[in-house]
Symmetry: C2
Subunit: 354 residues, 2 copies
DNA sequence: CTGTTAGCGCATTCAC
DNA sequence: GTGAATGCGCTAACAG
């Protein structure tokens, strides 16, 4: 029961007094490196701490130690399965290191992102992970770069996910190669006329995937017409709207549409169905990411698998493992890209035999 | 460029010296309440801070002020859309208050939850939000309750989401009434034979929804047979497995299956389809939560809408708004439950006319 | 308004 | 091993 007795939390000082030992001893018993304190005192301190409901003040520890136990994570949208899966990975790995994760959402707004980086930097997090989307028009020497550099100079470690236009640690996701492989696979299935549903210009990820898809088609001797590239927001509704626009304009022979991520692809599926057509049969659909739900839509979605949770884990590891302060990896020693894999499902049954 | 020059972050002290003012003045110029410092000094301090890339140390501020700017959020599984939507709401609302959210995942393990609460308490968060699932066998005077009580006694505010078996602030989600309304609606559609896919015993939310569904059926003069209640994990795969078991056992006339949450329902849809049946037509399906994806599955899922993001926002507001330290609301003044709404979609077309 | 000073809670030197 | 003292970065009285 929480009665009205509002008191301040017990401090280490209180514990020391209660146990009849010095502050230093209490500190050592509760945290100090490996056992250096008499077993008797030790148990007395622990008992006192339990009795007083003592909980070490992490802020105070951080100040005294000059180092926090925090990891900052920036994503574009927490409710988006792409980001929440990455976040789950980061949190899981952080937990192993007894690190606490703080999370913020940029909503894909570069200014917000900058503000958040600034604010989060105040935490002096051990690591800062940026999973939020990078933009093509983003200068590598702008204020964000400045901020990140300052953070690193002060001993922080930043990890980018996906692209490494900055000279910073990066979990490389080869969007371009993945999309190319998808295009190759679809061409192998016999498709010849393609359309792409992508995000508005400016988003690196979307741009790379489109470019990669073009690469793959070109390798198969297929050209992607600019008029067959439609754009929408990088969301389910954006995919729905763009696909609807494509349909209204008239397919003109397009057999399959590639949406640059799965949430847009799912929107595409619904748009096709709402237009009275049958996804897969009348118009095939492929996505990218392999988020959990694409197995359960109808037809199950062909996509490019990206190990989202692992990416999150890897991002944290990357920052923690080279604690030798050797600085960010140079492009030459850049880590291998995370492996992606084309997964063909029923949404691309092969072109209709007529 | 981050060159090798690794330095410690600039401190307020540095800024003060650089600006040629006292520590106090620098502090006031950068944070101190409304303008009390000479405009000239003010700009000088700001300039110095910018020049030095100064970023206030939040930990130090927290220690000095005796109050943090942190909100701790506990969820069962970050990648689950139910929780990530709530989290998105919490983060969005926290952002308005310039509060930082720290997140942890209990993985539905009560022991983990306790550990996490203990660990998070060290942050001295202003608010602690528990969205992780409560269990029926959970004592209201166990160690978790103790821990939460201690936290509140020390001035913290905890908010529970869903159930209020504890005497703590709660965002009430009337799972029971929602499920009852769903049962009523389905009965109104003409269904007479029901099955339920639920989680293993012990989860409050699952239990309440099952009970409510029973209530609703009973009101319609329909009995739910115990043999028509199948259990699985509280996940998509759990729903899939349980439904598969139900199908293998034989439907025996069951017309519609209610899965106690949408992720399980989505699994049910796939299980039905994989068994060679047509969801909706051969076996209707209903879920609970109205997560984003259920509009895009086939057939679109009948469910009970729960304003997940709003719940997250409301949880934070609840904790912040009664900063008058009046303590947790008594049951009598408990806040209204969040409104839920039955949403009938194509997955429950009404019983087959044979 | 500004500067000086005393803490905040804790880790960690340094003597004992 | 243990305790006393110093300092981490910052805020908040407290005097000027």
């Amino acid at each position: 029961m929480t009665d009205g007795t509002r008191s301040t939390p017990a401090t280490l000082h209180d514990v020391a007094r209660e146990a009849g030992v010095s502050l230093a001893t209490a500190s050592r018993a509760l945290n100090g490196s490996t056992r250096k304190v008499n077993e008797e005192y030790r148990t007395r301190v622990l008992a006192a701490a339990a009795r007083l409901d003592y909980s070490p003040n992490l802020s105070a520890q951080a100040v005294a130690r000059g180092a926090s136990t925090t990891v900052a994570l920036l994503v574009a949208d927490i409710a988006d399965p792409y980001f929440s899966s990455i976040a789950a990975g980061v949190v899981a790995e952080a937990d192993l290191e007894r690190l606490i994760v703080t999370m913020a959402a940029t909503e894909r707004d570069p200014e917000r992102e900058l503000e958040l980086v600034r604010a989060l930097r105040g935490q002096r997090p051990r690591v800062m992970i940026l999973a939020s989307s990078r933009r093509t028009d983003e200068p590598t020497d702008g204020p964000l770069a400045e901020e990140l550099a300052a953070y690193e100079r002060a001993g922080g470690r930043v990890v980018l996910i996906s692209r490494n236009e900055y000279a910073l640690r990066t979990v490389l996701l080869d969007n371009r190669a993945g999309a190319a492989a998808l295009a190759t696979a679809l061409a192998g299935l016999g498709y010849r006329r393609f359309a792409v549903v992508t995000a508005g210009e400016g988003l690196r990820t979307a741009g790379d995937r489109l470019a990669g898809f073009r690469d793959g088609l070109a390798a198969a001797g297929i050209e992607l017409r600019d008029t067959d590239v439609v754009r929408g927001e990088f969301t389910r509704d954006g995919g729905y709207a763009a696909t609807t626009a494509l349909l209204e304009r008239g397919l003109n022979g397009v057999e399959v549409v590639f949406a640059v991520n799965d949430v847009m692809a799912v929107g595409a599926l619904s748009a096709i169905r709402d237009a009275g057509l049958e996804p897969g049969a009348d118009l095939a659909v492929a996505g990218f990411d392999d988020i959990a739900t694409v197995r359960d839509v109808t037809p199950p979605l062909t996509t490019v698998r990206v190990p989202l949770e692992q990416i999150g884990r890897r991002a944290l590891r990357l920052a923690l493992d080279d604690a030798d302060a050797s600085g960010p990896a140079s492009p030459a020693t850049a880590p291998d890209a995370v492996p992606t894999e084309v997964v063909i499902r029923a949404s691309t049954p092969g072109p209709r035999t007529r």
